[in-house]
Amino acid sequence: MTTEPSVRVEDKLFYNRYLVDAGRAHIKVRPHTAPTPALLTLLKVCPARCYELNDKGQVEVTVDGCVECGTCRVIGEPGGDIEWSYPRGGYGVLFKFG
C-alpha cells in the first residue's frame, strides 16, 4: 500500500447536487460485532467515503453523499454484508454534467 495524499472527499461532494430522502437510507449495513473483510474494503473503496468505522469498531454507512455507483453493492451484497437499493425516484445525487 502507498501513502495517501491528503484528499478531502467531503470537499469534492460539495460540488454535487443532492436531494436527500431524510430517514430513508437506501443502503443498510448488516448488524455486526466485528466487520467482515468485505465491509472493511468499503471503508477505502467507496468513492464518496460513505462508510466509516464507529467507536465500537463497526462499519457504518451514511448515504447522504452517495454517488450511486454501486461499487459497495458489487462487493457487499453477494455475501449479505449490505442491503442495496436505489433511492426513491427523484432523490439522491443529481448530476448536472454526468
Binding site: 484528499v7 468513492p47 454517488v67 450511486e68 461499487t71 443529481l94 454534467f97
Partner: protein, 435 residues
C-alpha cells in the same frame, strides 16, 4: 398508476434505453419509459465520447440540435511513469470533416436532448420513478414492472431492461447475476472548468476541435486501469478507473488515484487554475464477451451496460448501448408485426440480430483480453511503463555514453525485469488475445 397496458416498457433513460424507446415509438408501438432521475441523464455518468455513426442510425440530422461539445481531431495515448509519459499522438485534418466521426459530449445534457426526441416520437416518459421489481406471472413470464409510485404497477407485453451496469431488476429476478468485482471497473471523474481560449491553447485546438488523452501506467499503481482527459468546450473531463477487484486487493482509494493523476507533471499544467464543478463515480462493465449474461427471456430483453456490452479495449460503450437498444427494439417490432407473443423463443431474434452486428463480433474478437490484462496487471500497468520510460530517456539523453552501450543498458533492464521467457510470453499472449 397507469391503467392502460403498453406494448413495451423501457426501464432506464441512458443511451440504451433512449435508443430502444425511440426506435419502438418511431415504429408506432405504445411505449412507457421509466427513469429514476429528475430528468433523463441526471443519474448517468460517462467520460464521454459519442460516435456519430450509431446515433445517425437513430437520428440522422442529430448535428442540427444535439448538445455536442467538440469534434475530435486528435487522439493521444500516454504510457506513464511517475515523472514522465511516452506518447503516441494521432492528429489528422481528415477529422475536420463535414460530418465528424466522434464528439465529446456532456452526458446529462446530451441525455436530456435525446429524451426530448423520445418524447417527440410519442413515447410516454416518466421520470422520478424508480422501478423496484419486475412483475412475473405464475409461469415466471415477465408481464410488467412495479415502481415506487402509489399503485405503481404497470403492465406490458415486453420489458426492455436498460437499467445500467448496476441494474437491480434483472439481478433481483435472478435473470442475471450481480457483476463480479473482476468484471467491473470503478471510475471517478471531475469536471474542470476553464475559459474556452485556455482549453484551446493548452490542448492545441481551434474552434470546436477536440482532443482525447488516454493514459495507462503507474498512475493506476499496478492495477488494471486507465486515466482519461477529454477536452470539452469550456471544461475538461478528467478521471481514472480501475477494476473493483484490484481496488479490493490493493486497498488503494479511488479519490487518492484521481488526486495523484491530477498532480502528475504531465497532467497538472492542463488543468491549472480550473474550477471543479462536479465529482462523479460510475461502474464500467469490463468483463467483455465472457461476461455477457442471458440477453432475453419470457417477456424481457436486456440491453447496454446491464448486458455488459462494452468494448474495454477500444473504450466503446455508449455506442454499443445505443446499438443494442435499437436492435432489441427492431426485434420486438418484428415480433409484434407478426402478431406473435413476446416469448423467449421469439425474442431470441434479438440475440441473433445482435450476434450479426459489430457489437458481438467486436466483443468476441477481444474475449481473452480482460483476463490477460487482469492477471498481468503488474506487468502491463507498472513494469512495462517504467521500462519504456527509462528506455526513452536513455535514448534521448546525450551524455557521452556510446550508443551501443546505451542499447545494452536498455535491453538488460527489460530482461532483468521480465526475463527472456517472460518478454516473449507476454508478447505472445498479447498477440494471441488481440487476434
Amino acid at each position: 398508476m397507469i391503467e392502460e397496458r403498453f406494448d413495451a416498457i423501457v426501464v432506464g433513460a441512458g443511451m440504451a434505453g433512449n435508443a430502444a424507446a425511440l426506435t419502438l415509438a418511431q415504429r408506432g408501438l405504445k411505449v412507457l419509459q421509466l427513469e429514476r432521475g429528475e430528468y433523463s441523464g441526471s443519474k448517468n455518468v460517462q467520460g464521454a465520447i459519442l460516435y456519430a455513426d450509431m446515433l445517425e442510425k437513430l437520428i440522422p440530422d442529430f448535428r442540427e440540435d444535439a448538445p455536442l461539445e467538440r469534434h475530435l481531431v486528435e487522439q493521444r495515448f500516454w504510457m506513464m511513469d511517475d515523472r514522465a509519459h511516452v506518447g503516441l499522438h494521432y492528429r489528422s485534418e481528415d477529422f475536420n470533416e463535414e460530418r465528424p466521426n466522434r464528439y465529446t459530449i456532456i452526458r446529462a445534457q446530451f441525455d436530456k436532448w435525446f429524451s426530448s426526441k423520445v418524447r417527440e416520437a410519442g413515447a410516454v416518459v416518466l421520470c422520478e420513478t424508480t422501478v423496484t421489481e419486475l412483475v412475473q406471472d405464475a409461469y415466471g413470464r415477465v408481464i410488467g414492472v412495479r415502481t415506487d409510485r402509489h399503485d405503481g404497477e404497470v403492465h406490458a407485453d415486453v420489458v426492455v431492461l436498460a437499467e445500467g451496469v448496476n441494474g437491480l431488476l434483472g439481478t433481483r429476478a435472478h435473470l442475471r447475476n450481480i457483476p463480479r468485482p473482476d468484471n467491473v471497473a470503478l471510475a471517478v471523474k471531475e469536471m474542470h472548468f476553464l475559459p474556452r481560449e485556455t482549453i484551446e491553447a493548452r490542448f492545441n485546438l481551434k474552434g470546436d476541435e477536440g482532443t482525447v488523452i488516454e493514459a495507462a501506467g503507474t498512475i493506476s499503481r499496478g492495477m488494471t486501469g486507465m486515466g482519461f482527459i477529454y477536452a470539452n468546450k469550456e471544461c475538461v473531463s478528467l478521471g481514472i478507473g480501475c477494476l473493483v477487484a484490484d481496488f479490493q486487493s490493493t486497498g488503494e482509494t479511488p479519490y487518492g488515484l484521481l488526486e495523484r493523476f491530477k498532480t502528475h507533471p504531465s497532467v497538472a499544467p492542463l488543468i491549472e487554475g480550473s474550477e471543479v464543478k462536479e465529482y462523479s463515480a460510475h461502474l464500467i462493465p469490463e468483463g467483455g464477451y465472457n461476461a455477457i449474461p442471458q440477453l432475453y427471456g419470457e417477456g424481457w430483453v436486456v440491453v447496454g451496460d446491464a448486458a455488459q456490452l462494452n468494448n474495454a479495449i477500444h473504450r466503446e460503450g455508449s455506442n454499443l448501448a445505443m446499438t443494442s437498444g435499437r436492435i432489441a427494439a427492431e426485434a420486438i417490432f418484428q415480433i409484434k408485426s407478426r402478431r406473435d407473443p413476446m416469448t423467449a423463443q421469439n425474442l431470441a431474434l434479438y440475440k441473433k440480430m445482435l450476434d450479426d452486428s459489430f457489437v458481438i463480433k467486436d466483443l468476441k474478437k477481444y474475449k481473452d483480453m480482460p483476463q490477460l490484462m487482469h492477471i498481468q496487471s503488474q506487468n502491463f500497468f507498472l513494469t512495462y511503463p517504467q521500462l519504456v520510460s527509462k528506455a526513452m530517456q536513455n535514448f534521448v539523453r546525450v551524455d557521452g555514453t556510446p550508443k551501443t552501450e546505451k542499447e545494452k543498458t536498455t535491453l538488460r533492464s527489460f530482461v532483468k525485469a521480465r526475463s527472456w521467457t517472460g518478454l516473449f510470453g507476454d508478447a505472445f499472449r498479447l498477440a494471441r488475445a488481440w487476434r
